[in-house]
């Protein structure tokens, strides 16, 4: 049989291949770009002074570029959001997966999806108009914009991903496990918390890691509620996160200051990559 040469076939094959590797290209491109543009400032400032310097004064006569306040704020903010968001999200997912009637679940689930789809500026706006004044009144502060507000807003924003990922994990637990537990005389609640949840633990862990990633990467909503002053973090003071540090000075920065912002983005990127790898490992483990 004669093999027909089809130039179109070859061409389309090559096109599809090009599309296929585009995701890899994007990731490499972003990584390289951040490294190339982020390293010079770290080099110039000194890695120790940069990462562990406690003072950020980028526009001072004698500028200081210590980003420890941002790093710590991002870590505290994320931990706080996880501390509040994970228990509420996990419990809601248990409710949806195991307790709620199908009718109830069919109302709550789309509602959770909606919560996930709301743009972050909308959360920021509500935080700014409701939460910040409320915190100012309640704790008698000169300004309510604070780490505390950021934590609350982040906790709400990570809820939907935690709920949907852990609900999926809980639903994937084989029914046989639950049957065995009930047959031994355990109650439904005991079964859920002593058998189903442990069996779904890697999926729930993935939900937590996903939440961490969301929280550490959020910028706009926090810009609107955290105050944006480069303080060392404390619960009721105005703070700046890694993300908001990049966003708040980018518009007018130049020279070393601008390069230092790229370096902050690089640090943020490193955090995110670590979280991504952790997430991937967890999800792989779940599949096995």
């Amino acid at each position: 049989m004669k093999q027909k040469v089809r130039p179109m076939e070859t061409f389309m094959g090559a096109m599809f291949f090009a599309c296929g590797i585009i995701a890899i290209a994007f990731v490499l491109f972003i990584s390289l770009y951040l490294i190339v543009s982020g390293l010079p400032a770290i080099w110039e400032i000194g890695i120790v002074d940069f990462l562990f310097g406690t003072k950020w004064a980028s526009t001072a006569a004698e500028p200081k570029f210590g980003i420890l306040p941002f790093i710590l704020t991002s870590i505290y903010g994320t931990c706080g959001a996880i501390l509040i968001g994970v228990p509420i999200g996990f419990m809601t997912s248990v409710y949806l997966a195991k307790i709620a009637s199908p009718k109830m679940a069919s109302i709550v689930r789309p509602a959770v999806d909606l919560l996930a789809g709301i743009p972050s500026v909308v959360y920021g706006l509500i935080g700014m108009m409701v939460l910040v004044p409320a915190v100012r009144e309640a704790f008698n502060l000169p300004d309510g914009a604070s780490l505390f507000c950021a934590i609350i807003v982040l906790a709400i924003m990570i809820l939907p991903s935690i709920i949907s990922v852990s609900e999926t994990a809980l639903k994937a637990v084989p029914h046989e496990y639950e049957e065995a537990s009930l047959a031994l005389g355990a109650t439904q609640i005991e079964t859920i918390f002593k058998v189903s949840a442990p069996a779904a633990s890697s999926g729930i862990a993935a939900a937590v890691v996903l939440g961490i990633g969301r929280a550490i990467g959020e910028a706009m909503a926090i810009m609107m509620v955290a105050g944006n002053v480069a303080n060392m973090p404390s619960l009721f003071s105005s703070v700046r996160f890694l993300t908001t540090a990049v966003a708040s000075e980018m518009a007018y920065a130049s020279g070393l200051q601008r390069q230092a912002l790229y370096s902050i983005a690089l640090v943020l990127f490193v955090f995110i990559m670590i979280i991504n790898v952790a997430l991937n490992t967890l999800l792989k483990k779940k599949e096995d």
Binding site: P174, E176, Y177, E179, A180, S181, L182, A183, L184, G185, A186, T187, E190, K194, V195, P198, A199
Partner: protein, 251 residues
């Protein structure tokens, strides 16, 4: 032999569909009773009514009585967790929890309030010995139960059921997924178990019923057709339908 479980005019519906019709059946203590019949005849449903595992099915409705030790299991004074502790169950497919062997056995006792390590150790050893599994696993109690073979997993499930000190053990086609060797071991184990426990088995395998049970009940289309000593059921059944089934004419 005194009766421990007794069904009186028991009807059961799944939604509109009646799955059990006016069942009257007495199950004597410390014997092996086998429930046989073709698929969908209601034998598993009956078994699951004894320990109220049918409660989990949405739309299930029961009428009549199911007595355990003289008390209706559906009466409001009976706590279902208590009932299920007294009446253990082993399922068709071995279903150990994804935990260590030790934690699998200790799960029930822990749930029911035993916390002391020494006590738990004792229960774990006793239960595993009771299920003829101790010698095979005593060196790897902390290893995952998922690493055991199918037959071992099923014996682990039996041990897990024994650990909460039940009176009755219900076995729902518990050897149907196992190889002949593992099946033999579990049948031997059942004979041992009947010294201390009442055993009720559901089986598709008529040879198995004939080999190990003391009494046999034949179910067909939601009705209990005939019950009697196993020898009699298999040699001189009274009902034509039983005879047809035993001789392999359908099923």
């Amino acid at each position: 032999m005194p009766t421990i479980i007794e069904a009186k005019n028991l009807d059961l519906w799944y939604g509109q569909k009646q799955a059990l019709k006016k069942i009257n059946l007495e199950i004597p203590e410390r014997q092996i009773t086998a429930l046989i019949g073709p698929s969908g005849c209601g034998k598993s449903t009956f078994l699951r009514t004894i320990d109220r595992m049918n409660d989990l099915v949405p739309g299930v409705r029961v009428e009549g009585q199911m007595l355990y030790a003289g008390e209706d299991v559906y009466s409001p004074s009976v706590d279902v967790t208590w009932l299920r502790r007294k009446i253990g169950m082993v399922f068709q497919k071995a279903n150990p929890f994804p935990m260590s062997i030790y934690d699998n056995i200790a799960y029930g006792p822990r749930i029911h309030g035993t916390r002391k390590k020494s006590e738990l150790d004792e229960i774990v050893e006793k239960s595993l010995r009771g299920a003829a599994l101790w010698d095979e696993v005593k060196d790897r109690l902390k290893k995952s139960a998922m690493g055991l073979s199918g037959g071992q997993q099923q014996r682990l499930c039996i041990a897990r059921a024994l650990a909460v000190q039940p009176d009755v053990l219900l076995m729902d086609e518990s050897t149907s997924a196992l190889d002949p060797g593992s099946t033999m071991r579990i049948e031997e184990l059942m004979r041992e178990l009947k010294k201390d426990y009442t055993v009720v088995i559901v089986t598709h395998n008529m040879q198995q019923a004939a080999r190990i049970s003391d009494r046999t009940a034949f179910f067909l289309l939601g009705e209990m057709v005939e019950v009697g000593p196993t020898d009699k059921i298999f040699s001189t059944p009274e009902d034509k339908r039983t005879e047809d089934y035993i001789s392999g004419r359908f099923g």
